[in-house]
Amino acid sequence: MSRGGRQGAPPGLLLRLAARGLRSGARQFVASCIIGGLGVIVLLAGLAVLPIATAQRDTQAARTPQPASAASDSGLLLETATSAYRGETIRGREVAVVGGSELRPPGLSEIPRPGQLVVSPALRDLLAVDPVLRERIPGTVVGVIARPGLVGPRELTYYAGVTAAELSADGVRVTTAFADPEFTDLAVPSEVRMGGPFISITFFLPVFSLFVIVALAGSERRDRRLSALRLVGLTARDVRLLAAVEAALMGVVAAALGGLAFVTSARTLAPHVPLGPGVWPTDVEIPWTGIVGAGLVLPFLSATVVDRAGRRARSMPTAGHAPAGTSLRAGRRLAVLATGVVLMVAAEPTRLVLGLDPAVAVLGLGCLLTMIGLCISAGPLARWSARAVNRRTSAVPGLVAAAQVGRRPDQSARVAIGMSLLVFVSGLLLSFFPLLSSSDAEAARDLAERVGGRAIIAQVSSASTVSEIAADEGVAAVIEAHVTGEGPGRSTMLTCPGIEQVAGDCTGPAARAVVAALRANQVVDFDLAPELVASVPLATWSEPVSQHSIVVLPRPSVDVEAVRTAVLRAGGTGEVLTTNERREVRMLETKVFREATLVALVLAALVGLASLTAGVLDSVQRQRRSLRMLHVMGVGRRDLGGALLRQCALAVGPTLVVAWVSGLLASVVFLRLNDTSTLTPPSTSVLGVLAAAAALPLIATALVIPRLNRLVQLRSPE
């Protein structure tokens, strides 16, 4: 104490020691920084999603035509003709100028004249190489749609010039403005909004738990080094500070790495995002607050975690083994979990008494508590399972595993946390699927099932169009129905000339039934619920009905694309899609969300695997002496691997099962709150996630086996 009674070591020395410590654990430091950096990237990407979705929705709103409320003699006539090509939706608009209007849709400097096209860059490239598509969308390309008219860089869309007379005949109203202030069509569905945070959690939590695991990996070596420093005379405070500084440094570097990577590459990579039409670089907002936040929170978190984990070891100058088997306060921890579950269950009664909003809040709180409960209960659950096994087994691998997990439940169960959160959240995430696929998409699927996936649906406005389509050699039959889009009802199919000849070619029970009935009665009641409604008797066909929906059945041997081209050329408009495509378009709003969810799940599973592997690796490293001794004593390598696998399973298994059950519960409650009690919760998909999660310990152990083999090799230095 030559420094005037001052207790701590000189800061310079501490810094030097910290730097030395980082150098000796360089590999682990680098790994933590990279993983932490990945977590930050994921977080920032999550933060960027909503601005991107908003920007895309704004673009869509801005190009939505506003038909004039009163009759107007100046403006644009616009009619949609959406089609699909090789799985990509092509959004087309026929356009004609009325009264010399100066109105232009966003992204267009000139309105194409009849026979001319203005196309998106992606469609231009496709037209240049694809003659089939050129035949489908005939005309000379005279211009390219600019950025303001496109949702994403890969969007396939065009404006085709036609005469005003053609469109007026279809009863199209004059558009006097673009931009829909109350744009709801294709807007981010509310379920997706709710799902957003869950996706971020799915992404972020496992990455964060991996960061923690890696930050704590090699803690044994660090604790040994730190307690050696204590022996040399550093105070407990010095040593704590040292550990915290090292960990905080790790967090700072991780945040800086992640932030830097995102800032430099997000905009470059945006157009290549494999979701929907891609993302405009300018739609990507750099979430600076997120970067700064991560830079502050991550160092703090890692310092705290490392400090807490090493406290006991550092408080004693002789590290040895921390006395294990101390109380876990299992009761308190499980109480949190139980409270979460009870709250989730209470959500439904809450709705009956207080209404939906409080019920959603209760469910949210329940989920949050359940997730916290899962994190802190992993230890007690692992210890119970270890004790149960310990009482039964007399096989050495099982015994060793149970002893390790039983004595160090928290340490062992750490690897389970990320994965159990993943399983829990996936229950919720996957329950969005049945919810989203209800309504519209469900009806579209129904139609596809009734008339076959290859049948093309289109809008027509005259009987001559129908005749022209029916005359095409690829067409087996044309069925007409009036679509109003409301409630279930009846619809009547009208036939085309020549039904007698085509009857034999029709395949599929539904098509055959329609044709047979038509031949007998000429009028068929055929309820394509809930979309195809209203009865249009054959006799009314001659009257001019402004828009009819027709279902075109292609001959079995004919390419659908050829038939579609015939329909479009004959004057079919609207969504000229096969029933399968139509179904997909109906699900388009949810498609990006589904894809994002699946990507999230896969990524999270990979991260879960990585964290599990890191955990097993760390535990092998910690137990290397006893593992080696067991091998010396005649325990084969396979049995040592078995011991590791059992350890992993004991630590992860019970928490995973609890997470699965509570995740399903959350999903059931969620679906009930959304009045979709008829939908079954996604138990099979979640079971799949559970199975995948259960397979992860196997894979992680297998990945660690080479390291184990090297460790028990007696020729390698200790």
Binding site: P323, L399, V400, M629, M633, G634, G636, L714
Partner: protein
């Protein structure tokens, strides 16, 4: 106590011309020796002379670069890894310098491991382990984990673990190296006496010449080769 590298009786364990190097470092250069059944042999020599390396070769832990090791006429150095593992499990016992007990198992459980490995039931294995720990004077610590007992007690448990299943040979690498003189004496005499009672062959590496009184023969290694005993 003789200093020859060959035993007088029929050989249980025999090494012929063992050579072993770790990269450029030569650990053994042509060592031959024989150990008779029931004999207690000490390996001595300066640090780095190859004592541990020789012990590892004899025990089938390491395959020598050249030369052969025979146990009862079986060539150990020819066996597969699995077979050598089985051999160690069924016929050998080990004591290492720091005990290397499994930290999460109690002393009794640690001692019962070799019995469990040979298929004994849990209850019987624990009973036998307790009995032996009692005999070695650590009964009161049997239910504690290695981290909660002294180094001497750990090492006595390690001796118990080596002996409990009645092996043919016990290999001990500086079993008293980490202990003070008094504790070292106790552990060494427990090892030699109990082995002699049971007719177990012992190969023990030691630094401490004061412990050589209890052994039948001393083999001295210098620079990876046998030398005349001191």
């Amino acid at each position: 106590m003789s200093g020859s590298a060959d035993a007088s009786g029929p050989l249980l364990l025999e090494a012929r011309d063992l050579a072993l190097s770790y990269g450029p470092t030569v650990a053994l250069r042509g060592v031959s020796l024989g150990v008779a059944r029931g004999e207690i042999v000490a390996l001595v020599g300066p640090s780095g002379s190859g004592k541990s390396s020789l012990l590892h070769c004899l025990a089938g832990l390491v395959v020598p670069d050249s030369g052969n090791v025979f146990l009862d006429g079986t060539e150990v150095s020819r066996l597969s890894d699995d077979d050598r593992t089985r051999l160690r499990r069924d016929r050998f016992g080990f004591v290492l310098q720091f005990g290397h007990l499994v930290p999460d198992l109690t002393l009794a459980e640690n001692v019962s491991l070799p019995l469990l490995l040979r298929g004994r039931s849990r209850v019987r294995a624990l009973r036998e382990a307790h009995a032996l720990l009692d005999e070695l004077g650590v009964a009161e610590s049997a239910a504690r984990c290695p981290g909660e007992v002294s180094g001497g007690q750990q090492q006595r448990a390690a001796v118990a673990r080596a002996l409990v299943a009645g092996p043919e040979v016990v290999f001990a690498d500086e079993p008293t190296g980490a202990l003070d003189t008094a504790n070292g004496d106790v552990v060494m005499s427990l090892l030699t006496e109990r082995s002699r009672e049971r007719g177990i062959t012992v190969v023990v590496v030691t630094h401490d010449h004061s412990r050589l009184a209890a052994v039948d023969r001393v083999i001295r290694l210098v620079d990876g080769a046998t030398a005349a005993a001191a």
